[in-house]
């Protein structure tokens, strides 16, 4: 198989296998398989196949809302991965991004066209700084970025909670005061056309970031040198590239993507900062999105929609009598199959070789 078709075929095989696992579990536990597909179709198109209300755009709105943050965390993981780094710190970067967005929303007063960009930028900056920590430690002390970023996920979580409770102030010990209207991504227009979903302007920065990701990676010298470091660190160093600086900057950019996801959730889906009891999994969803999307912008967009659809379908599945957690099971199965790609590739390779070599071997036996 060529590299290009591999990037398309292997994720699709993984997705099919993942859904197969989900289907088997549903059958084994005596639930309705068609219920799952009805729920998935409804969350994606708004059309109800089981009768009742024929079309409800609210579901499409909620589907987009679920998709936005995980595309951003997907970009985050993918960007670091293209530099040969393995950063699973999106979760923590998202948390500090949320905290920074809350701060900018609460303490700045400005008209919306200034306030909103400031909120988004401060979240990106906070995420970037959070990403700089594993980057710096990796570049200058050769500390594994995986472990550091796991640890920082929890530090970020508790830092956000500390800020909400002790700095921004919280009357009910759960959330901050409501943000002023000028800081929010919410849009009465978008809500009205999707029958009161939580759809908001957050998709605009998401689309911008998809283009930015693709542009930096594919079209700039800087992106080229990042990829070079990813392919072969020593060769890149020999070619005169600043390997250490690239590692730090790459993880900062990755952090900025995740930080923005925090802002999109905090000032788009919600309109207040929240105390978060346990990780909400957006960071890990991002890993799934990036892996299935082969670390390419277009792949991340599609994979983000796939997993967004699964997330949005959860309440609909629960209505169909299927425990909502099936979505997480299918997602995990898909990730596991993608991780096994190496093995799957070997199996396909052996199979193809056998097919290709069989007739030749026949003819040559003289």
């Amino acid at each position: 198989m060529t590299k290009r078709s591999e990037k398309l075929v292997l994720p699709i095989i993984s997705i099919v296998l993942g859904f197969l696992v989900g289907t088997i579990i549903i059958i084994a536990t005596g639930r309705s398989v068609s219920g799952m597909f009805i729920a998935l179709f409804k969350s994606f198109t708004g059309i109800d196949l089981s009768g009742g209300q024929a079309f409800n755009p609210r579901y499409i709105g909620e589907f987009v809302v679920q998709t936005m943050p995980i595309i951003l965390t997907g970009l985050s993981f993918a960007f670091a991965a293209r530099t040969g780094l393995f950063c699973i710190g999106a979760e923590g970067q998202l948390m500090v991004g949320s905290a920074a967005a809350s701060a900018a929303a609460l303490y700045i007063s400005a008209p919306a066209y200034i306030h909103v960009p400031l909120v988004l930028l401060s979240a990106m900056l906070a995420g970037a700084l959070w990403g700089a920590i594993p980057g710096f430690l990796k570049a200058y002390f050769n500390v594994p970025e995986v472990t550091v970023s796991i640890m920082l996920n929890y530090v970020g979580l508790y830092l956000n909670n500390f800020m909400v409770l002790n700095v921004f102030g919280s009357a009910d010990r759960i959330k901050t005061a409501f943000f002023p209207q000028s800081a929010l991504l919410e849009s009465p227009f978008l809500e009205s056309i999707t029958r009161n979903s939580r759809l908001n302007w957050g998709f605009i920065p998401v689309i911008l970031m998809l283009f930015l990701f693709s542009f930096i990676i594919n079209k700039t010298t800087f992106g080229f040198s990042l990829r070079a470091v990813g392919y072969n660190k020593e060769a890149a160093r020999y070619a005169g590239m600043k390997v250490r600086r690239n590692i730090v900057v790459s993880l900062m950019i990755a952090g900025a993507f995740s930080g923005l996801a925090g802002a999109v959730i905090t000032t788009g889906t919600f309109n207040f900062g929240r105390v978060i009891a346990a990780s909400e999994g957006y960071g890990f969803d991002g890993i799934a999105v990036a892996l299935v999307g082969s670390n390419e912008a277009i792949g991340i967009l599609l994979a983000g929609m796939l997993f967004g659809m699964l997330k949005a379908a959860q309440p609909l599945m629960q209505v169909q009598g299927i425990p909502r957690e099936i979505a997480g099971i299918i997602q995990a199965a898909i990730v596991l199959f993608v991780a096994m790609q190496q093995g799957i590739k070997m199996i396909i390779g052996k199979f193809e070789k056998r097919k290709a070599s069989a007739p030749v071997a026949e003819g040559e036996r003289v």
Binding site: I25, T29, F86, I88, I133, L137, F141, N142, V143, P144, V146, T147, V148, I150, M151, L152, Y154, V155, Y158, L159, N161, F162, L165, N166, A277, A278, S279, G281, F284, I287, A288, L291, P323, E325, I326, A327, G328, I329, Q331, A332, A333, V335, L336, V338, A339, M340, Q341, Q342, G343, I344, M346
Partner: protein
């Protein structure tokens, strides 16, 4: 804080420390054999769900229900970890990704099964759990008796015994030597006729057994039922104490107790004048922050297994 309050904190610290230590020992086996296992958190969830479910289902028939629950938890953890072993050893999957997938899978699978069995997103509350014990005679020893042998969870003794057993197995047996060789230089080990895949399977499966057991212990000592948040990051604290304890069983024991103590401290801090000013979140952060600092200090020195996390390629030199 009075001395009595301090005495009260010790068993609580040990209660939190036991699952951390046992899980970290699991991580030690896995990493020493060369496979990074960040799925410990997920394996703990599986163990914790199994122990809670078995206890709830059996407690009306036998007084040993919690102990049967723990045994079941260990077996469930072992079986679940086969997935990680198969993906990362046979199919050469990236170990961190495979571990991440198992973490997502476990939170989905356990709550899914709760919904099927109990029709809610958690298990039923168990009436029986693991009770504290006071060891006769030993508890009469001045000071030490009060600290370590009076109204303490027996699971702490299990943890301590496992530390010694782990040390013996890893450092004093042929099996341990071979396993460590696979974590340091698998190619060299293979050239001496050691079956690298088999040793790594052993490492990962033992880690599953221990993490499953620890998850069961955690839910049956600190909780009243299994929920989505029963483990809340303890698997990652275990990884932290593995790193902080320099991949050594006694180091793990020390840091496990320390992290258990710092968890207990977060509950008692408000009563301690010096500490009451510090935000509670600071205590939650402490293990993670300390691990980052430890990583920087250890950087460049070879403390961890050298080949851990690398995909085994028998042709590499």
């Amino acid at each position: 804080m009075t001395f009595n309050a301090f005495l009260e904190m010790i068993p609580i610290s040990m209660m939190f420390a036991s699952p951390i230590i046992i899980t970290a020992l699991g991580g030690l086996f896995s990493e020493r054999s060369g496979i990074v296992n960040i799925a410990l958190e997920g394996i703990m969830m599986v163990g914790s769900f199994t122990a809670a479910t078995v206890t709830v289902l059996l407690e009306s028939t036998t007084p040993f229900a919690p102990w049967i629950g723990l045994a079941a938890a260990a077996v469930a953890g072992l079986v679940y970890s086969i997935l990680h072993a198969f993906a990362s050893i046979n199919l050469k999957a990236n170990q961190t990704i495979s571990g991440t997938a198992l973490n997502i899978l476990s939170s989905g699978l356990t709550i899914y099964l709760c919904q099927i069995i109990f029709h809610q997103q958690r298990t039923k509350v168990f009436q029986m759990s693991i009770q504290r014990v006071t060891v006769p005679y030993l508890s009469d020893i001045p000071l030490l008796g009060k600290l370590f042998f009076t109204s303490i969870y027996p699971t702490f003794y299990v943890a301590v015994v496992l530390v010694v057993v782990t040390w013996f197995v890893v450092y004093k047996t042929r099996f341990g030597l071979r396993m460590r060789a696979c974590g340091e230089n698998p190619q060299a080990a293979a050239s001496m006729g050691i079956n690298v895949a088999k040793m790594r399977y052993a490492g990962v499966l033992i880690s599953g057994l221990l993490a499953g057991l620890a998850g069961g212990i955690m839910v049956l000592t600190t909780d009243i039922q299994f929920t989505q948040n029963s483990i809340h990051g303890t698997g990652f604290i275990a990884i932290a104490s593995l790193v902080f304890g320099k991949w050594n069983p006694y180091g793990v024991l020390g840091t496990g107790i320390f992290f258990g103590f710092s968890t207990a401290l977060s509950f008692y801090a408000k009563d301690i004048p010096v500490l009451s000013a510090a935000p509670i979140e600071f205590f939650y952060m402490l293990p993670y922050l300390m691990t980052i600092i430890a990583l920087v200090i250890f950087a460049g020195k070879s403390v961890g297994p050298k080949a851990a996390g690398e995909i085994y390629d028998s042709g590499k030199r």
